[in-house]
């Protein structure tokens, strides 16, 4: 960066307590946790210090950073009074410490940064009074979509510095409202329509590279599955889905296959289509007048969980990816087990989220695969169709708790819930992979 820097501080500092990574209880396969650790039951507090200059763009950068760190649910975001955060000055470590602040995020902007210049984002350890990490961020001109995306990526990096795993701000959620497809950022901003074939278009799913989506299109002569390139909008129909009802697509973790359910006069069954070779549809279940649907892949691609009505009401099952070894997965509840639907395998492979009816009302559950125990997550209103964030601790879902069907996000670690799409009628959310926007970064 050149001279003439104006100091703003985005400070994140280590906490006074003995810290241990929250992720250490559930390490990702092969993952190595670095950075600050903290004890269960505590989390680091962070202050995002104001930019040196009060410009609209820099103010919005600060606001976006604050909100992203807040919505990561890994920090307590503190808002120090302006006397403590003199714009342009070095962080007042003593004053921040007295406010219980562990970390501070500061940003240093060159003059004219809002016209497409660079800012430096610094993570300060307030306790030791030092800068732990820094990154340069080139701001796109203006205050629109591109700026928000750039800042989301930076805040995901700040989360990675502290916890060892990146945040989820630079992701997106596809959903259905009014029969159409929409995309929204997890902070509730940037909602935009995705032109789709058919209406309604249902059950959108992301490819692992975030470039392709699959969904069910209601067109006059059928219910085909459509593969759609997000950038170009070009579409193709999955072979064999010209007939019958074709629903609940999900890409395999390597993106080479698509599992889905095809229903016709003989019932509904799970199939696999070889997307990579654009050929070869394989039938994985053989029902007879009953339904098998909603396949969801384990992260290693070796197994599929799915819903089957083979024993009466829809319940959760699992099989190998070739269709062998089919068995019931969830234990039955005491009394009668409600209809179970909408399963999605967690990114860490250890659990499956789904909804199950309790007294006729769907509620979210998470099944722990090691113990096969289920844990009820919600209990207020109808709660349906959970989808995992790439961090494996947040779920987006549909809830009627406020009166109409809206999209909500729950953090499974803290239990915190917040609405993200408050327009009524939102449903069938699908959370994007992390890689979605990496291609846009350049």
């Amino acid at each position: 960066m050149r001279c003439g820097l104006l100091v703003a501080v985005l400070a994140v500092a280590t906490g006074p307590t003995a810290l241990r990574s929250q992720d250490s209880t559930a390490p990702a396969p092969g993952g190595v946790r670095v950075g600050i650790t903290y004890s269960p039951g505590t989390r680091p507090s962070v202050a995002v210090l104001p930019a040196s200059m009060a410009t609209a763009v820099l103010d919005s950068v600060r606001t976006i950073l604050q909100r992203d760190l807040d919505y990561s649910d890994r920090f307590e975001v503190v808002y120090p009074p302006s006397a403590v955060t003199v714009p342009g000055g070095a962080p007042n470590y003593a004053a921040l410490t007295s406010l219980g602040t562990d970390l501070a995020v500061a940003f240093v902007a060159a003059a004219g940064a809002e016209q497409g210049g660079e800012i430096e984002i610094q993570l300060h350890d307030v306790r030791t009074g030092s800068i732990k990490n820094r990154l340069s961020l080139r701001l796109p001109g203006g205050a629109g979509e591109a700026l928000r995306r750039a800042v989301h990526r930076a805040s995901d990096e700040v989360v990675r510095w502290v916890t060892g795993a990146p945040g989820i701000a630079a992701t997106a959620i596809l959903f259905v409202a009014d029969g159409r497809l929409w995309r929204v950022d997890p902070d509730g901003e940037g909602r935009v329509g995705v032109p789709a074939a058919g209406r309604p278009a249902l059950s959108p799913a992301w490819s692992p590279d975030g470039r392709t989506i699959a969904y069910t299109a209601f067109v006059p002569s059928g219910r085909p599955l459509v593969l759609q390139d997000l950038a170009s909008g070009s579409r193709e129909i999955v072979p064999g889905t010209e007939y019958g009802v074709n629903i609940t697509p999900e890409f395999s973790p390597d993106g080479r296959a698509l599992a889905y359910a095809h229903g016709d006069e003989n019932g509904t069954d799970v199939y696999r289509y070889d997307v990579a070779r654009r050929c070869c549809v394989t039938r994985l279940t053989v029902g007879r007048y009953y339904d098998n649907l909603s396949p969801t892949w384990s992260p290693d691609g070796r197994r599929l969980s799915f819903i089957s009505t083979r024993a009466g009401s829809p319940q959760l099952y699992v099989m190998s990816a070739d269709g062998s070894g089919q068995e019931a997965l969830a234990r039955f509840d005491y009394g009668s087990t409600g209809q179970t639907n909408g399963p999605e395998w967690s990114p860490d492979g250890q659990s499956i989220a789904f909804h199950r009816e309790v007294g006729g009302v769907p509620e979210l559950f998470v099944l722990d695969l090691a113990t096969r125990a289920v844990r009820q997550i919600t209990g207020e209103g109808r709660n349906e169709d959970p989808t995992w964030a790439p961090d494996g601790r947040h779920l987006a879902f549909v809830s009627s708790r406020s009166g109409t069907r809206q999209l909500w996000i729950v953090d499974l670690e803290t239990g915190r819930m917040r609405p993200i799409v408050t327009t009524g009628g939102a449903r069938l959310p699908a959370w994007s992979p992390r890689r979605t926007f990496s291609s846009e970064a350049g």
Binding site: A177, D178, G179, R180, L181, W182, R191, V192, G193, P195, A196, A197, G198, R199, L202, S203, T216, A217, F218, V219, P220, S221, R223, P224, V226, G233, R235, E236, I237, E242, Y243, G244, V245, I247, T248, A261, G263, D264, E265, N266, G267, T268, Y289, Y290, D291, L293, S294, S313, P314, Q339, N341, G342, H355, G360, P362, D385, T423, G424, R427, L428
Partner: protein, 228 residues
């Protein structure tokens, strides 16, 4: 209804209609083929046409899928309102046509036949079996389809608002398939009946009562070809 059918159907219909009361028994002049016979006949007759139809269907689908369903960010709330109104209007129109529509001829079909063909059948919650009370409704459709061999129909399975969006699409398909199976088992060529599922996307009654739910758990029957 039955009287209407008899008046308008003519002598040929009488025989078929008489068979309606005992759907499993073959009519005297046109014995229903055994399942094996009808399957073989269908296979031969359908194979050439099926290949052609499949190609046409793929082309048509490809065109439908190319067309955008464009969205604008500000259109959501308005669309919500419009849909609510449209649902309410549709419900009114359907009630009116069922209760007070004047006699008329739809295509080449007598009104009574059109009405009987369109008469929906209903299902228990989360079930897809055709109930005993609805078998006479299907038997009347059998008679009409038998008397009008060029008629082709589409059966659309529908569900109430309970249960998941996706599961209800499978359930709706099963409901449509159940009615088709009944008609085909009683001699109607499978190629004349198309099935489709609407899941819970097309409720007839927008209410949230047991009454509304039972009205919405239904198969609709629509003539797609050969009405005139």
């Amino acid at each position: 209804m039955m009287a209407n059918l008899w008046r308008t159907a003519g002598p040929a219909m009488v025989l078929l209609a008489a068979a309606c009361g005992k759907p499993a028994a073959p009519a005297p002049t046109t014995p229903a083929p055994t399942p094996a016979q009808s399957q073989a006949a269908r296979a031969t007759a359908d194979s050439a046409a099926a290949a052609h139809a499949a190609a046409a269907r793929r082309d048509s689908l490809a065109a439908q899928v190319r067309a955008d369903s464009l969205v604008r960010a500000d259109s959501l709330a308005r669309a919500d309102r419009e849909r609510t109104r449209a649902d309410s209007v549709r419900l009114q129109v359907q009630r009116q046509s069922a209760d007070t529509a004047p006699p008329a001829i739809a295509g080449g079909l007598a009104l009574a036949d059109s009405t009987a063909l369109a008469d929906p059948i209903h299902f228990d919650y989360d079930k897809s079996e055709v109930g005993a009370a609805d078998q006479p409704r299907l038997d009347r459709k059998l008679a009409i389809l038998g008397a009008h061999p060029r008629l082709e129909i589409r059966i659309a399975g529908n569900c109430d608002e309970r249960g998941s969006d996706e599961y209800n699409l499978a359930l709706g398909e099963r409901r449509a398939a159940a009615a088709k199976r009944y008609l085909v088992a009683h001699g109607i060529a499978a190629g004349r009946i198309d099935i489709v599922s609407y899941g819970k996307e097309h409720p007839l009654d927008a209410g949230h009562s047991e009454d509304a739910w039972s009205r919405n758990r239904r198969d609709d029957f629509v003539v797609t070809r050969g009405a005139n």
